[in-house]
Symmetry: C2
Subunit: 677 residues, 2 copies
């Protein structure tokens, strides 16, 4: 048994296809004037030398451009990974290396180690062919590592510049997310007069880097790594679908990575068709028309009508669970994004309100809230008093009865978290909250209520009911009408009457219908049927994240990143800076893929970060108006499969790098493209 | 985007190869007298009609056997899944169906639904070609479902018999684990005079069904489903290896299924080479020679010297973590079996001792232990008093100081669990304990101690040290000897002296060496180096189980199960009963695979189950004398990779069903076979 598996050798040997233009003997850039951006004045002020960069197309040429520096000149290039690993990173390096080496064998590629710290520490290694060959088409960023530090102060910027000058770099390549590409733009500006070019590469499994120009023309449909991570999660979730539909006793609760955007959850939903998939953007976008109408009638505005409450989300989940149970399916799969709670307006409101309450209290009483109310119960009492006073005295306070009601349905550990002291920015640490436990805690509580109300019941298969009764010598018809809500329908699954929620109430129900003397025992077959109708709600929790982001890349990501690397080199060789390497038409057939340089500076806008306004790239969230979400939304009822018959689970199969097929690109992209045609 | 992925269509179309004998026009059984078993008298008594069954070989023939019933006669066969799903189950059905249909188109196959309950409820469906074709090579038991009920009382046995007679069954096929195959033998006996044959099929991802005859000849090397589950876990763990070696900040803690045996953990270890893999059987097998020697000197026997303590296990893990940190690697991957705690002698001893203490207390005081000591602290106080009294009065009690010491290192939630009231059998519910949390809780505590002692430190790369010092205008040599333990060695990574564990002690250390005036601040470069040497221990916990057992089968499991199905049919057609279908030589090339019937009754022995002696199949544990474990053990140090340079992680790649390759069978089997050659 070899330590290198045959799967590994084959993968290392895969040669991704390259875009047509990269087969040309020479390349040059061609300004794509048809694309434009709305430029923010602050960006113009901060990034004067790169703000007017155009989108650059890459075209082939038979002759070198006599007006430009020779593209086959000797170059020194540095490359660095920034942030969490994403499948395909090694192929960006391979693409740069192969193009660079083909142009000039004396060019050199340096990898800064363990992220931007490598630049600050002058910690690097030279990337040789041997190194490149050892990591072709492999996942992770293992070759040179990654890190999360930022080059975000004048001192650090100066240090980075010095080390790039020391290494005599012609260009620096920054492979990272939105923040790292923002950083790349600032470095491009900073290094502009030194002639050191800086090129960004859009990486993040979260899929939240997508670039459009001001006319909504799609220039970069997706960051690299997204497809692989989504497919890896989908493959695991698919295994859970097979498991739960065999064993028919568990609801598998799958949290998938994605804090700021729910792209991964949506793609997993489209890949696997789980019974319930929650999308944060939809939760945030919800509008409670009833509340708005009511407020309008009263001549007021109800700002709490926007966005779903936690209770509402849990009710939706319960609704799906109850419906499936009625069709005899007390099992299923739920997918939710890691960042779901951050999309719930009410939670954000709680955080702001509680911060205000604690600060006000401390100021008014010149004391410490947490010392005065040491236990959770003390704190809850205090809040309840505030709400009562507000109601009784008809005064406006920051904490009203509705707040108190909503707050009291939260599980104690989450209440405790929300009431804990904050960091200096008053930021609540979402990362410490177990999203799935908060949501499923509410779901479990509510299901218990629904079971007590007789609403959550397992449907009884009609044939089994009849057989069980007949075997016990009882007439199915006589008892059927007494026992079930829907006996005289065509329903394949029978629902025990709501009033029967215990042996006692079952007896009363049968007695009321005149088929049982209340002093007698319940006949055995009926007892058996009743028991089979009473659900247990058993869950298994799963988190898919690190394993998927460490996966070896799909065909899509292998090919995308290799061509990104080629694009990076083209941009460098042709003298561009402050550009992000991109491939247009990713959503289409490979033959349509078009390498581009997208100027980063014009994409920037102002956003609050850590309490200050900063120039950053906007993160792309799931567009709930786009075709992918609309397809998902239209299929939701079908995929819940709350009816007799098989479930609609889809098996995407394991990740493959060979061959382009229907599975070779994210379904989200394919649907969005189909919808536009 | 089609709802059926192309991966699915291709998989459905895969036709597993069949063993040579199944290509013959006719088959017959041939008794294999060279294999024999040690028969237990109780088995002979309980299973008189099937106890003398021999191992049956299957041989091809050009003519039907005139002495036997025609093997192409019309047959009615029932099949049922029992227990958790395992990849390949659908191919057992496909194998039976294809063979049955080829022999006689009028034969019929019935699937009992949702496990043995389907037999008891007479709940079944006819398995048609359409159904079979929809599930070929797919994971899960979705076609007919599974369940956990047992046919273990005379009433249930009678009911099962009646329903098999009603369906006019010639044979019943039970696909399940050790208990289900035991059940199959009892049903074979029960149905013997009715002429209903019963055949078992060895299924369990845990890999704990392995059959040898009395001469240790291997008849069945592995149950089906094991390979796929192990490969699925391995693939996910492999992603974590890529992740942690890129991001270099997490230890990924992976718990994998396997309660009674650690085969899955061992196979994952061999597939992926994680830094640390724990094997329960090794933990249980450990002998503390020091304690034994000490006891021998004192003329006593120390029964506690057998098996590792929880503390010992956590120390071993810490040892690996500390060693890697010293080589600059404060990250890694740990794999442990779900059932690890059950292999720890001390935990078993605690359960027995605490049961005794609670029972004694209740009897002596005619009261309730839990009412008298309501909180955990009360209980711990009581135990401490017992231990102290025993020591002071030199009396033997059930709870001594060593018990108390060991008990007090357990995390409170686990102490609480151990002190909780038991079920009526006094059984402790291991399944409610989070193995990984117990172990890693101890590891974290001990690492904290090791950090305070200056033992757990991150090695500082020599070059980086020199650069950092020089940049700060300090002489690396002058300070190197003062700061590091190993400056004057060839070590690539430098270890800060043990005495420096805080800014204060760092200062004292440097002052003692005469390179710093204690009233001055620590120079910035040294402060930076010191900080880089102080480890944070960050973990991410993972549990791999349900997703892997729901995975689509590997080539090995596809082919194994399809041939198992064919074997089942051959045994039925040739009139066998009480046999388990098996394939000999699984560990060898496919051309050597040999279908067999193994008689179940002679394999049975007596074991305590739920407080009673019962005839059961013995579960196979990991053999720590066998080559696979020995290879693992020999490679352990290498795979820990606590030295400069890359880790030794292996990438097994995703699960494939096409083509036989080095990855096509469990590494455990291959190594055990190699070791025997």
């Amino acid at each position: 048994v070899s330590s290198a598996s045959s799967a590994l050798s084959e993968r290392l040997g895969f040669i991704p296809p390259v875009c047509e233009v990269f087969k040309s003997p020479f390349i040059r850039l061609e300004t794509e004037n048809r694309y434009g951006f709305q430029i923010h004045p602050s960006a113009r002020e901060s990034l004067p030398d790169i703000i007017d960069n155009p989108v650059e197309g890459i075209v082939g040429a038979d002759q070198p451009d006599p007006a430009a520096k020779p593209s086959d000149r000797r170059l020194n290039i540095g490359i660095v990974f920034s942030g969490g690993p994403a499948p395909g990173g090694h192929n960006v390096i391979a693409g740069v290396f192969d193009a660079m080496f083909a142009a000039n064998e004396n060019s050199r590629l340096f990898g800064f180690l363990l992220g931007p710290d490598g630049i600050l520490e002058n910690n690097y290694m030279e990337i040789t062919r041997e190194k490149v060959d050892a990591y072709r088409n492999l996942g992770g960023f293992t070759m040179i590592g990654t890190g999360r530090s930022k080059i975000d102060t004048p001192d650090k910027m100066a240090l980075a510049r010095q080390h790039c000058l020391d290494l005599n770099l012609d260009a620096l390549v920054i492979v990272g997310g939105d923040d790292s590409n923002t950083n790349a733009a600032f470095m491009a500006q900073e290094f502009f007069n030194d002639g050191i070019q800086v090129i960004g590469v859009p990486k993040t499994i979260d899929g939240d880097i997508q670039v459009r120009d001001k006319n909504s023309e799609l220039l970069c449909a997706m960051s690299f790594g997204f497809h692989t991570a989504a497919r890896a999660f989908a493959h695991n979730v698919s295994g859970l679908c097979a498991d739960c539909s065999s064993d028919v006793k568990y609801w598998h609760i799958c949290k998938v990575m994605g804090r700021v955007a729910s792209h991964l959850a949506l793609e997993v939903g489209l890949q696997v068709h789980p019974n319930i998939t929650l999308i944060g953007e939809e939760v945030a976008d919800f509008i409670d028309e009833e509340r708005i109408e009511k407020a309008r009638e009263q001549g007021t505005v109800d700002y709490t009508a926007y966005g779903m409450t936690l209770r509402h989300v849990s009710r939706l989940i319960c609704d799906g669970i109850v419906k499936r149970a009625a069709a005899g399916k007390n099992y299923g799969v739920i997918v939710m994004p890691e960042g779901l709670l951050e999309f719930i307006n009410e939670i954000q409101v709680f955080i702001i309100k509680l911060n205000t309450i604690i600060a006000d209290y401390n100021q008014t009483h010149d004391t410490d809230f947490h010392s005065d109310f040491p236990t959770l119960d003390d704190k809850l009492d205090h809040l309840r008093r505030m709400a009562r006073m507000a109601r009784e005295n008809h005064i406006f306070t920051v904490w009203n009865t509705r707040d108190d009601d909503l707050f009291n349905v939260l599980p104690p550990f989450f209440q405790e978290g929300l009431l804990t002291e904050r960091d200096s920015h008053g930021n609540f640490q979402f990362s410490q909250v177990e999203t799935d436990k908060v949501i499923m805690g509410l779901v479990k509580d509510y299901l218990k209520t629904l079971a007590e109300q007789g609403v959550y019941k397992i449907g009884i298969e009609r044939g089994w009911y009849a057989r069980t009764m007949e075997k016990g010598g009882l007439d199915p018809k006589t008892y059927g009408r007494a026992l079930f809500q829907n006996f005289d329908t065509d329903d394949a699954f029978l629902l025990v009457k709501k009033s029967a929620v215990s042996v006692k109430t079952l007896k009363q129900t049968l007695a009321r219908e005149g088929v049982l003397d209340e002093s007698k025992d319940i006949p055995k077959p009926i007892d058996k049927i009743y028991k089979a109708s009473m659900p247990k709600f058993k869950t298994q929790n799963h988190f898919y994240g690190y394993d998927g982001r460490g996966n070896d890349p799909t065909w899509f990501d292998c090919t995308y990143t290799y061509n990104l690397g080629r694009t990076v080199f083209a941009l460098i060789a042709c003298g561009a800076t402050g550009q992000m390497a991109a491939i247009k038409n990713l959503e289409k057939d490979f033959s349509d893929w078009t390498p581009l340089g997208i100027p980063i500076a014009p994409l920037m806008h102002l956003e609050e970060r850590k309490g200050k306004l900063a120039l950053v790239l906007e993160k792309s969230l799931v567009d709930i108006e786009a075709p992918a979400f609309r397809v998902f939304s239209a299929m939701r009822e079908k995929w819940l499969a709350a009816e007799p018959g098989p479930d609609c689970y889809r098996r995407p199969g394991p990740i493959r790098y060979s061959g382009e097929s229907e599975d070779s690109r994210p379904i989200t992209l394919v649907l969005n493209e189909l919808g536009r045609q």
